[in-house]
Symmetry: C2
Amino acid sequence: MAPLNRQQSLMQQSRQTATFDPYKLTCVLYNDEPTVKRRREAFKRVEEATGSADQSKLPAIYANTDREAIYMQGVEAGTAAFVDGIHHNHDFFYGLDQRYTLSNCTPYGLHYMMFIPTIELQGSKEQIEYWVPLAKQGKICGCYCQTELAHGTFVRGVETTATFDIDKDEFVIDSPTLTSAKFWPGAMASSCTHGVLMARLIIGHKDHGVHPFIIPLRNVDDFKPVQGVELGDLGMKMGYNGTTNGYAIFSGLRIPRNHLLMGHAKVSRDGTYVPALHDKTGYLTMLHARSTIAAGSGFKLAQAATIATRYSVVREQGSGTGDGPEMSIIDYRSQNFRLFTIIARAYAIHFTRKPLQNLEQGLKRIAANNDYSSMGLDHVLFAGYKAWNTQVAADGAEDARKSCGGHGFVLTSGLPSIVAEATAPATFEGENYVMYQQVGRYLTKCWKNLKLGKQIDARLGLIQNAFAELRSNSQPQSCKASGKDFLNPTVQLSIFKHRAFRLLNQCSSDLDSAEQNGQAPATAFNNHLMDIIAAARAYMDLLVLQDFISGVESTKTTTSDPAVYAALSRLCSLFALTTITHPQSYDAISFVEDQHLSAGQIRDIRACVNELLDQLLPDAIALTDAWDFTDASLCSAIGGYDGNVYEMLMEWTRQMPINRGMEGGGGGSCERAWREWVRPALRGEIGAKL
Amino acid sequence: MAPLNRQQSLMQQSRQTATFDPYKLTCVLYNDEPTVKRRREAFKRVEEATGSADQSKLPAIYANTDREAIYMQGVEAGTAAFVDGIHHNHDFFYGLDQRYTLSNCTPYGLHYMMFIPTIELQGSKEQIEYWVPLAKQGKICGCYCQTELAHGTFVRGVETTATFDIDKDEFVIDSPTLTSAKFWPGAMASSCTHGVLMARLIIGHKDHGVHPFIIPLRNVDDFKPVQGVELGDLGMKMGYNGTTNGYAIFSGLRIPRNHLLMGHAKVSRDGTYVPALHDKTGYLTMLHARSTIAAGSGFKLAQAATIATRYSVVREQGSGTGDGPEMSIIDYRSQNFRLFTIIARAYAIHFTRKPLQNLEQGLKRIAANNDYSSMGLDHVLFAGYKAWNTQVAADGAEDARKSCGGHGFVLTSGLPSIVAEATAPATFEGENYVMYQQVGRYLTKCWKNLKLGKQIDARLGLIQNAFAELRSNSQPQSCKASGKDFLNPTVQLSIFKHRAFRLLNQCSSDLDSAEQNGQAPATAFNNHLMDIIAAARAYMDLLVLQDFISGVESTKTTTSDPAVYAALSRLCSLFALTTITHPQSYDAISFVEDQHLSAGQIRDIRACVNELLDQLLPDAIALTDAWDFTDASLCSAIGGYDGNVYEMLMEWTRQMPINRGMEGGGGGSCERAWREWVRPALRGEIGAKL
């Protein structure tokens, strides 16, 4: 075996300082050891099938960046995962692809994420029996067509029409305006046979609002779109280019009446419309999607953290203040502060997966029992987790990328695509400010109901208690903790609670005053929107901290290793305390503006953070290794397991197609650019006009 | 003339609500009306020469995204600007290209930004006389080769060697290790004839440290690299792909002795080394580059703000809380808060251009007079402005992009590339955390000197006064303002001052205590690095606010229109107050943690912000129109001047090469992907292995 080079040695040394065995943590993160083993096998098969296992080869996504080439690579990779799941009967790639991106980045992802769930949640028994097996056996491939050129989050604004033709017992689908063109649906342009279409149901002259329909998109045999549809791709996006997000313009597409999903609302042969028992049934799919997004969004952040941490271990730069040898950049406080807060946030998102799963179970019960009483809060929690998780993932991934300096800017580092893929979910399925706005609207209503002595959802004991407490204490309570007290989860939670409910109470008072002053509720709400969003965010900060704390507690039983528990506890404390002191924390000012925490206490908190960082530093590699990312899934020249950063970077760079023949002067388009533009310019052969 | 569509009408209405004439503000932003006119002519010529003036055509950068195609487009566009500057004798495209990106995004940008300035700052008289005219007449094209595979910000770590061969009176250039490969220099791989190379000067066995050399890179005639150099491109980056950032590996490249730039250090024929009078001469170019970057970084933010603002005027979504018609999204408080804070920050960066110009003048005096006494502070100010301006630009551009929802994610919106181009400068020429670290180091030293009764740079009156004040007041002073007082710039400045110097004083005490406890200064500095960075950032917040306030005051004389002054004053107040209350402000907690501001005062500040936003809303379009961006420079389907968002988006999308023939089923690689992967998968023809 070749001796290790400098970077490989640094990596090995750093790996050896761990206080726990990362494999034990891996088994916690992916539930149990058998799952870890089956996952590893699935990844191995798919990586071998697509040729991505060989790290010495420049990955195709960095070599060929043309729109069409990227799509071809995406279809190939997506097919490998799709087929593997069917043949080996697993769902590892339903929510995330083999690179841990939300699987709507592949041509088959929305099939599992939205198409099948919509049929299951909104179809009649017969429709479910007919369509779901076809879809699950992979004989058709579906997408979800909701967003339009001018209509996004606001579903009621959808303009596409499905007009009932009673003579033929069919619906006729049309895009009545330019702005009603379907625009954005993933995989729609070129990879799907079918879609669920959200369109206004028109019978006679009556508009019954937006309903879900199953529509065919193209013929399996000849790839031709069905008659009455114009399809196209939106072109390159920041990410998710392995699939085609499409536009579709409908002109007289005809589908049978029974393609309206009739689990809730129904249309009978004579055109009689029977409305759904509840007007929010149409939102079930969106909630399911938000759940998948929220639960999956931490992995891209964890990948960014893994790459940045590994790189920071082997990257040596500067010599502190002295003239000594260069330091690994992870030893700079600013760098380890950045990295560990990112790692902590990736774990924080991980520990929201359990509560999200529980909520997800609830959705199925809703659809089955037609009992929508829990849906108000469910909707709000999905929105809240979706906004919190994706925002934290997006910001953290970008900070991780920046922490790698220049090498984080080139595609071969893997970081630019990770950032783009982490950032997209902050926008799709509901822009995050809108999500928080919905959370805030619900919370202020709850608070108002409590004031009026009305009931709120029984699951909101936290809010009820806070309300009761605020009523019984007229004087604001300042925090009594000091020094190491701040490492206590109970103290941390009480600080987060105080802040969340103070903000909520304040918003509620402001809205009440505005109303008393005769302001319209909509106007008052809009005037105070930033405060309401802040209250919503603070509430989510609190829930996530709760989830993190109980998640870590649960590892006491799921792993017998106290060292794993100890490391996670430190990470959880770091998360809590840096939510207060991180320079980029959202609205951190609201932790202190009412003097709940004094300057001295903030200093104590900062001292605790420094101490936690010193304790966590030996576990930097273990905490990121634990995610069990393969090198192929990271696809990073600077984030490989062995730390051989510079050789990889150079090896991949030399393989760039643009560098073919560069040494000899024959550099393809580089030489052409030289002959056509640069040389004539230098020779003064190009006039004032080109 | 065709009647205006819905979006065009909304735009027209919004434009008509302005309280001032944006052209008057344009003349302020670009100094004077004659300059505005000459700029407009130059942009028109270049846009016509490159065909980008015709907005109905899908821009090539969105159509062909292959590495080589993007480079070809970059060279063509860059050549047009290069030639126009020479023929029409202007420097409009020296620092920024015709799309307002820092011009190192073009193959000719570093020629002006670093190559020529290095020769001017570091060459001897003879060298300047020989090289500068060649370069300025455009007969050679140069770049700046400093960064290596393993060496970035820390220049002393550079490994490339230039060994003096006394027999031949030449230097021999080598890359002694893999990690010493030059990696990153812009335009180096394929567009330059020459470069300034930073390499260790070796004479005999003595290493004299890093010095600048002029090296040839390739032959003009046949494009071949000179002997002893391997060149290549790094492949796709997040942005700046119109140029090739390159790698270079040297093996025995020979250059004459007089290619060492000898304005400061010298080597004579017999190998005698005469060191520079000052050891920081090598940094002059970097400071110049940081100045250009800092001064130019606001434009990308302004572009993002322009697109997002225009889109927000015509995008209607949701109906507030009621069932009324849909609202323009700019009318949501959360949206106008986001947009105006971004607009305000773009203007804030603009008003730092003047102080940066003054500093820039200083650099030339340093080189001419060999008087380096001001360089310590100059260095720190460039680093501080570079970090502040680029970070604010990067964060704001991304927030603007997100504020456009889904349409901000597709390349045709123009926003993804603007974000990438705004983000890059936060990393290059010194990663921002490192920049703030340097600022913090200098400031804590100054504070220490003041404690010791020593002199500091005479330009630091602000710090001297603050120090004196803190000494005379043992009790911390809380802010006395309330209500509308917070709109007063003097009040705003006093809040920013209090925060900046409280943090600095605290850091200084912490370092002193650590030293008294026997901690090594380097360790103490590293332990407190996050606090030191926070103090540095707070100091820059203060300087920028000062610049903004005095910049706005100066418009009283540069424009006779009090309405322009009024709008800018509001924007400046909004900037000051939202630096405190914006949920994403860095370290906002430090404004309140010592109770300088109470909860009631923060509420007053929030009320002032709401009021400012209501006043600014009618000027949303005017404040962004004033930047005078052409549609071609924005290159955005959703940010065009006329507001015709949806038609443009659809028009460009339909022209995507990938959509060729899609309607009929023949969709190029889409059809190929279907036949090769999707169809076989759906038919169960793909086995467990692909």
